[in-house]
């Protein structure tokens, strides 16, 4: 889990302060008061409903027939986990996450390299790169759906390998491509800004030294730049991956889950809000939450970097 890796950046000035129990007790009290509203609010809207979901998931409970609510133990989980729909949607979600993050990492890094080099027009580039970040996801979903549309879009006429009447939303793979294109367009800028911040931390002296020693561009990239950016890359990947894993807006707008393009978030939403199945929906909510934790743990393990390092380097 990420928790063990979070460091609470201790201000060196605080360390130097002589231990003074009265004072530290007063500080503790003040700090608690200041932090309390934020903590209470965050827990009230997340921890409490999550516990409630855990509780509701043990019932057969439909809002259309609330009186028939009955305790069923773990049956909802068994139903969910044995349903091919659940696995299909999880598969979709994982695929979207891996493909979009991988593509974004490459394009985002290229963008970051360019932005790192640019001296002129820096403001223009940075302003433009924030526009996709700022555009509402629903709007970018529309923009791309209309762009891929075979009746009034432009993608078909611009792409050399598709016929003009190719229906992107007619089958699974092309629908997925369109969904992922929208996701990638919208979030690559965020990735590139994080990577740009990481690039800024790579020491120029080291790069110069490598250059003097005769390292080629690729060698400098692999031996100097990337290793020194590991922490920044990991943070970017972790944030984006967990964000991609929650994908919902784009799918809702672009295909509404047609052709088997549903994500795990979408399945949960459908059960709870559209079908009022709070029992099974809650079980799905819990499974979704657990799978996010698994994804986070895997990414943190994979990179073997802790967030504390990211702090110290900055």
């Amino acid at each position: 889990m990420t928790t063990t890796y979070v460091q609470t950046a201790v201000d060196p000035a605080d360390d130097a302060r002589p231990p003074d129990s009265d004072r530290s007790r007063a500080e503790n009290r003040l700090a608690r008061k200041l932090v309390a509203p934020a903590l209470v609010l965050m827990l009230l809207v997340t921890a409490f409903p999550m516990l409630r979901a855990l509780y509701l998931s043990l019932f057969n409970y439909s809002l259309t027939d609330p009186d028939a609510r009955e305790f069923v133990g773990l049956a909802n989980y068994a139903t969910a986990l044995s349903d091919p729909l659940f696995w299909r949607d999880t598969g979709n979600t994982v695929m979207i996450m891996i493909v979009t993050v991988a593509v974004e990492l490459v394009i985002g890094f290229a963008f970051a390299m360019v932005m790192h080099k640019v001296i002129f027009a820096r403001g223009v580039i940075r302003t433009s790169i924030l526009i996709p970040y700022g555009v509402i996801t629903v709007v970018s979903g529309f923009a791309w759906q209309f762009a891929f549309s075979n009746t009034n879009g432009f993608v078909n006429s611009w792409l050399p390998f598709t016929s003009d009447d190719f229906n992107w939303f007619g089958q699974y793979w092309s629908s997925m491509v369109a969904i992922m294109a929208s996701e990638i367009w919208k979030t690559t800028p965020f990735m590139s800004l994080l990577l740009l911040a990481g690039l800024a931390q790579v020491s120029n002296d080291m790069l110069e030294a490598a250059k003097v020693d005769g390292a080629t561009w690729w060698q400098r990239l692999y031996k100097v730049i990337l290793p020194n950016m590991r922490a920044a890359i990991m943070v970017a990947v972790l944030f984006r991956a967990l964000d991609a894993y929650r994908i919902f807006d784009n799918i809702f707008v672009m295909t509404a889950g047609a052709n088997g393009t549903e994500s795990i978030s979408f399945l949960t939403y459908r059960q709870v809000i559209e079908q009022f199945q709070l029992g099974i929906g809650s079980a799905l909510s819990v499974l979704l939450f657990l799978s996010v934790l698994v994804v986070a743990a895997v990414i943190v393990k994979l990179f073997r970097v802790n967030l504390a390092d990211a702090r110290q380097e900055s």
Binding site: R52, A53, I131, G134, V139, F146, F154, T268, L284
Partner: protein
């Protein structure tokens, strides 16, 4: 010389690609918003409105005259602003404590914030839907403000505590030594230093609230509280394949304008905030 020229060309091409990447879909949706309904329905592929297929500003006037759309904009502005204001105030208190004071449980607060930032929003929708109906705040501004706040707080706390850590707090004591009262020292020295960070956190928080979709469609049922992203998705019809594209495009442009204005004015701050919260945080 030849090498630096080559590098320069590479950078220029790179810049051009970035600009195309960022602006093409935006240009496309603007172009679409000027096509006439009829041209779109009859099928008018191509990037720009074809000859005779233009609609001038009529899509915009139609959208702006739409009562539901107007309500949605008001809802979005109101809910996002209130959520931003409240969450920045609360986050400022917390971030001040985190950056300035030593206390037990600091790690717990930061970890909680991080976990919530990664929380799958949809998994809360069911229980909240149920609870809000019991409390009677389903389909109200309050019913959206509360979840927005809890989800914007982590972002604001991380961004702000990263900013606050950079503030030379000793200056406050120095001012007191020079004869200022504690309050004067705080107001005259710390507040001006902290203000840009607070402002940045506010912009990011506003973006977040403005962009929300899951809560917007799940916790509202009428135009009483439905925010703009949800309203756009419900705009005419359940059939996602036959939407009034050009009208929607005009609506989308209107909904995007406030964000673009914020980006244009505060580009520097937003970049600083995004990277401070994530990389340094």
């Amino acid at each position: 010389m030849g090498k630096s020229l080559k590098a320069n060309i590479g950078t220029i091409v790179g810049c051009a690609l970035i600009l195309i990447w960022c602006l093409l879909p935006v240009a496309w949706i603007i172009s679409l918003s000027f096509k006439s309904q009829q041209a779109v329905t009859n099928g008018s592929p191509g990037f720009f409105p074809s000859k005779g297929g233009g609609a001038g500003w009529s899509n915009y006037t139609d959208v702006l005259q739409d009562e539901q759309f107007r309500r949605a904009i008001i809802n979005s502005v109101g809910i996002s602003l209130i959520a931003t204001l409240l969450s920045v105030i609360i986050a400022t208190l917390a971030a001040y404590a985190i950056a300035r004071l030593e206390f037990k449980g600091k790690k717990f607060v930061l970890t909680t914030a991080l976990v919530i930032a990664m929380f799958p929003v949809v998994s809360l929708v069911g229980p909240l839907f149920d609870m809000w109906r019991t409390f009677g705040i389903y389909d109200t501004w309050l019913g959206l403000i509360i979840p927005y706040m809890s989800f914007t707080l982590p972002l604001a706390i991380w961004t702000l505590s990263a900013f606050f850590r950079e503030i030379p707090w000793e200056m406050e004591q120095a001012a007191q030594v020079d004869g200022a009262t504690a309050w004067q020292a705080f107001r005259k020295v710390i507040v001006p230093l902290a203000a840009p960070g607070v402002f940045t956190a506010a912009i990011l928080t506003f973006f977040f609230a403005w962009n929300d979709f899951v809560f917007g469609i799940s916790l509202t049922s009428t135009e009483r509280a439905r925010p703009i992203p949800a309203a756009l998705s419900f705009f005419v019809g359940a059939d996602p394949f036959n939407r009034p594209a050009s009208l929607l495009a005009a609506g989308a442009v209107v909904a995007t304008v406030p964000i673009v204005i914020l980006v244009l004015f505060f580009q520097r701050k937003i970049v600083a905030g995004l990277t401070a919260g994530a990389v340094k945080g």
